[in-house]
Symmetry: C2
Amino acid sequence: MESVFEIIAEPNRRAILALLVSAEQSVGEIERRLRMPQPTVSKHLRVLREAGFVEATVDAQRRLYRLRPEPLQELDAWLAPFRRFWSAHVDALERHLDRMHAAPGTKKSRSRQ
Amino acid sequence: MESVFEIIAEPNRRAILALLVSAEQSVGEIERRLRMPQPTVSKHLRVLREAGFVEATVDAQRRLYRLRPEPLQELDAWLAPFRRFWSAHVDALERHLDRMHAAPGTKKSRSRQ
DNA sequence: CACGTATATTCCTTTCGAGGTATATACAAG
DNA sequence: CTTGTATATACCTCGAAAGGAATATACGTG
């Protein structure tokens, strides 16, 4: 389970991350809110911790988990080239629609090129 | 393999997507460029196709695969809340550094609260 | 139609990760 | 020191997905 991508492939882990985005939570709180067995929560938290997605501070017997930004930023960076791609795509669509609007009756106007 | 996240968890699939971001490619081209056995390429392309990441057009015996934006946009949308989180984080860090700069000698200035 | 090329599919095997149950560890309080 | 609470870990089992090898399908050409 090397990569950021594998880490967030697991739905329960994504749920935990989504929960932590608002505020830090103890294991028990996560357990209750997500209705997830405690060992499951602990195991996923371990994975998230070792991958740098979360960090914990000790408060008596509790551990308070909070989000760390780096791995998600890495994911964001991975998306960058594709973002360029799809904005180009939207532009192309807009131009296409513009052309259709400019020349309305041209039924078989020429697909491709 | 339901989710977008599971699809991109596989490194070879990410490589294929990265390759297609510049231009459409035939299966053979992908095979050569990524030095991947042909059945492997075809199987990953199937997964990507069924998940809507790519589409193919037929050109004689070749199939030309190209990227589709939607699933990656979905991923981008999932990231949005976290983006808000980490920009807040950066802001907090900046404010913190500003304060340190303003009051330099205050060694044990008060952790927490 | 036979053949070559391009791609898809099938079958098999192996690996890995997730969940469940039980148990260990850590801390607080009486 | 015993008990209760909070969290972590160990062990086991199961399913799913990836890779390899072989084969099927589709198309073009002589």
